[in-house]
């Protein structure tokens, strides 16, 4: 009888998911196992080799979970294929029945639908949107095994260039996102200065990216990155559904827009109507 809940962590472990995994294991009468290691995300560039190394680890697994980071979102589908198991992507809610049936919930179609999914294969697999679950006490105490894998030849890492931002957008507690309303690259420099002062990271709408104010790596939304920071400040962003898809999970949303009818206000907890530059100037003054 397969009775393990296997959690696979990468170099950026999701402790909230580790807490959730512990709760699910208890409720579903499963034994929790956590596998991790620097190897998993750093040393070996070949996702296929990591997936293969995970096969024997999955022998007793009833449930396999992993945070939906870029690499684990490539590795888990490979592992799922090797195990001939069902896999659900980027879940935002998980539950389990006492007999170990996993209920996986995920948004689709730019968040306009929320689907709840069950797996019909013996092993139930899911990746989980990073930062979805709160960290509870004791998560750090769970023992973590290190995956041993052989170096692979088929994919070679030549160079790794870390992002200039010390905090990746997906992990930032505060995001200051600018839209087309910022009007220029110079405007974004000002926004970045503000973000830096309050300990935040700069994000952007697609129109700001298309206009060339910021690189694509800053894009939040359906075709960019999905974020759920504690505070999301949307500056000069109208609030298109494709943008909302990437940020509606934020704890608190502040909207700054000159148009009182901008849809973004309907999706914000706090709003100021006015020119962004003077509002940011005033905010910097109050915070200094």
């Amino acid at each position: 009888m397969k009775q393990e809940l296997l959690l696979i962590q990468g170099t950026l472990p999701d402790m909230g998911l580790q807490s959730k995994a512990a709760q699910l294991a208890l409720k579903g009468h499963l034994t929790l196992r956590v596998i991790s290691g620097a190897n998993l995300e750093a040393a070996t560039a070949d996702d296929g080799a990591i997936a293969k190394a995970l096969i024997p680890q999955a022998q007793n697994a009833r449930v396999i979970l992993a945070p939906a980071t870029t690499r684990l979102r490539a590795i888990l589908p490979m592992l799922a294929w090797y195990l001939q198991a069902g896999l659900t992507a980027d879940c935002t809610h998980l539950d389990i029945s006492p007999d170990g049936t996993l209920l996986q919930t995920r948004p689709a179609f730019g968040n306009s639908l929320i689907a709840t999914i069950e797996t019909v294969s013996g092993i139930q697999m899911a990746t989980v949107r990073p930062g979805t679950f709160p960290v509870s006490e004791g998560a750090e105490q769970i023992p973590v095994e290190t995956l041993q894998e052989k170096p692979a030849q088929r994919v070679k890492l030549l160079e790794f260039v870390p992002l200039a931002d010390s905090v990746p957008l997906g992990e930032a507690k505060i995001i200051v996102a600018g839209g087309a309303g910022i009007g220029s690259s110079a405007g974004f420099l000002k926004l970045a200065d503000f973000a830096g002062r309050i300990g935040g990271v700069v994000g952007a709408s697609r129109n700001a990216v298309d206009a060339g104010y910021v690189p694509y790596s800053a894009q939040v939304g359906m075709t960019g990155i999905t974020v759920c920071p504690k505070l999301y400040i949307a500056v000069g962003i109208s609030g298109a559904v494709q943008h909302l898809a990437g940020m509606s999970g934020s704890t608190t949303v502040i909207a700054i827009n000159s148009d009182p009818k901008a849809p973004i206000f309907q999706y914000a907890d706090y709003g100021i109507v006015g020119d962004w530059e003077s509002i940011i100037d005033q905010l910097m003054e109050e915070l200094s």
Partner: protein, 256 residues
């Protein structure tokens, strides 16, 4: 030398809201369709590789309803050498596992290739799982989230975007690469291309033709099952209009 590049593309609804039928399958009739945004990059990447290698061939593979062949036919004008549509009512409702299985069956019918290009994910279901599943099934190495790629020796050089930085990677052929949105903007068809496309037909394959049994197809062949779908207005909140002092207070709170 690159001989054949395969590109998997999907046509997705242009509308931002969608309807489902009683079995939680997408209603794909009646909505207008467009090439998935990331797949646009994959296709353009393939056409550029072809331009750099005189004898290379670009083969486009798609899976979907029969009516998509109209839109797919236009890809001949851009320079695709073959456009193949795997289409069968039996394939409806496939999850990513069953979809990968069907695509692999079709790919095996197409012969050897040097590179299989896909978009990193489709904007409708957004699972992004097909590339990994295809690579595992075909036994080839893969790099996902590629933002730049060029051919080199017996493989490819590519740049992969990760959360914490960018990796420069070298991968051996044959391989799979999944490409990010907006990596390469799609070219426009030229007059020559349009002329060449005129008498070309999309090749349509059925599930049986690629050797799939009924048990392997669609909902029956899927490993996951949607048991409930809720529609919701995403993230509607009650906005409190205020001055900067309230915002400053809120920001300080979060900083703690």
């Amino acid at each position: 030398m690159i001989k054949r590049i395969l590109v998997c593309v999907k046509l997705v609804p242009t509308a931002t809201s969608v309807e489902m039928d009683g079995q939680f399958r997408l209603k794909r009739d009646g909505t207008s369709l467009q090439l998935n945004i990331a797949d646009v990059s994959a296709l353009e990447a393939a056409l550029r590789l072809k331009a750099a290698t005189p004898d290379a061939e670009v083969v486009v593979l798609s899976m979907g309803p029969a009516k998509t062949s109209q839109t797919l036919q236009e890809l001949y004008a851009l320079g695709a050498d073959r456009v193949i549509l795997l289409s069968d009512p039996a394939l409806a409702g496939a999850d990513s596992f069953a979809t990968a299985k069907a695509l692999v069956a079709a790919i095996r019918c197409l012969g050897d290739f040097d590179c299989l290009l896909c978009g990193r994910r489709a904007i409708d279901a957004e699972t992004g799982q097909i590339p990994g599943q295809l690579a595992a099934a075909l036994g080839i190495p893969a790099v996902t989230n590629v933002q730049q790629l060029t051919a080199r020796d017996n493989g490819f050089l590519c740049q992969r975007r990760l959360e914490n930085g960018t990796a420069q990677l070298e991968i051996a052929a044959p391989c799979l690469l999944s490409v990010c949105e907006y990596t390469y903007p799609l070219r426009l068809p030229g007059i020559m291309g349009k002329r060449r496309a005129r008498d070309k037909q999309v090749e349509v394959l059925t599930a049986v033709a690629v050797g799939l049994s009924a048990e392997e197809c669609g909902l029956r062949g899927s490993k996951t099952k949607v048991i409930r779908v809720d529609t919701r207005a995403p993230g509607l909140r009650k906005c409190r209009y205020c001055e900067t002092d309230v915002l400053a207070e809120k920001i300080r709170e979060v900083q703690l």
